[in-house]
Symmetry: C2
Subunit: 205 residues, 2 copies
DNA sequence: GTCTATACAGCGATAGAC
DNA sequence: GTCTATCGCTGTATAGAC
């Protein structure tokens, strides 16, 4: 079990360093020194750097799914979407310094033509699918995926410019605009198009 | 003059490779082999990799300024903004493969804590300032910068998701949504708030 | 399971011949 | 202005002692 624990520690440290410095720039030496094991010992737990990356992505996916699942259990669909928008505010300090963990990794791996790129993009899909389900629960039958992509797009754009300009007021303003956009979408929702009763919608996720 | 020409060739090749592979992953060897000069000879033209990066960013800024200047001379403010939105369509193939040249460089240099980061972010500002001027010319006095940032944000978000999902239909749809958004902004523009006559607006840039 | 020692490739950068 | 040769460093990865 000590081995499993060390593996988890390495994964957690690598997760952080891949985020803060980028996958390529984060060296084995930097991870090993942070975990406080020797570089050689490293390879007992992971054979290659790509193996660590895969473990990090799997951890990120699991973390996000747990977060979204928690919201799905605690709130009705509309509020769940507002929780997603709220990530920009909650994490704004880290986003302004290092960008979005999902977007920056995906962009880096795309340039490297890295074999784990699809896995990294799956992280986007975790949010996309979850958002789509919330819009479906609200009754946006045919447009749910487009709406999910639109919200995801705006969160990526805000993260990119927040990282460049480090402007908290901009982030706040755009998060509010996203919330307003959601209001407008719901306001023009034709009530008859929903095949589910409001009660059934609540249960959906 | 042959030296200047070689320098320009190196800069152009580095520009492309930095875009396609990322700054760190694009090695001297790869640039040299593309330019068809030896690695050693390289250092006659640029003493360090950072010098090449600075030259590349300066070139990108000059290129973009020329592009925007051309639009400013050819179209009225509203159409200029639509030209900006059109970049997403014009460059969609490259964006889907390599992402946005401005956003991906800025994100990479931010993680590397690179000294040229501010210079790279200046590329954002070229677009931001130009867009702000167009909104000002349209009469959006106090909101012009916020509107410019909003458009820039959306273009960054679209580029990020286009890169991940390589979905041309998504890009087309969101570009249209941006154009529609512009319509709506202009529709609610209070005509009295503009301090400039329509004629003077046309001349502004 | 953890360590030291080391192989080997590739990087940015330099020196000096032509 | 271009070349070859080479340095010093760091990167991933391996071998083998403890």
């Amino acid at each position: 079990m000590s081995s499993r624990s060390t593996r988890e520690i390495i994964t957690a440290v690598a997760d952080q360093l891949f985020y803060e410095r980028g996958f390529e720039a984060a060296s084995f030496a930097s991870i090993a020194s942070e975990v406080k094991i020797s570089r050689g010992n490293f390879y007992y737990h992971f054979k290659t750097k790509n193996e660590i990356l895969e473990a990090v992505i799997a951890k990120r996916i699991a973390d996000r799914e747990a977060l979204l699942q928690g919201w799905a259990e605690a709130f009705p669909p509309e509020d769940r979407i507002r929780c997603f928008i709220g990530i920009l505010i909650t994490n704004q300090s880290k986003i302004m310094t290092f960008g979005c963990p999902v977007g920056t990794l995906s962009a880096e791996l795309a340039k490297l033509n890295h074999p784990a790129l699809d896995q990294a993009n799956e992280l986007f899909t975790v949010f996309r699918t979850w958002l789509r389900q919330q819009f479906e629960a609200l009754g946006f039958a045919g447009q749910s995926d487009a709406l999910a992509m639109h919200l995801l797009m705006r969160s990526q754009g805000v993260a990119a410019l927040a990282n460049a300009y480090k402007d908290a007021e901009f982030v706040r303003r755009e998060a509010e605009a996203m919330s307003l956009w959601l209001d407008q979408q719901i306001a023009v929702l034709p009530p008859a198009t929903s095949p589910l009763s409001p009660l059934e919608q609540q249960k959906e996720d």
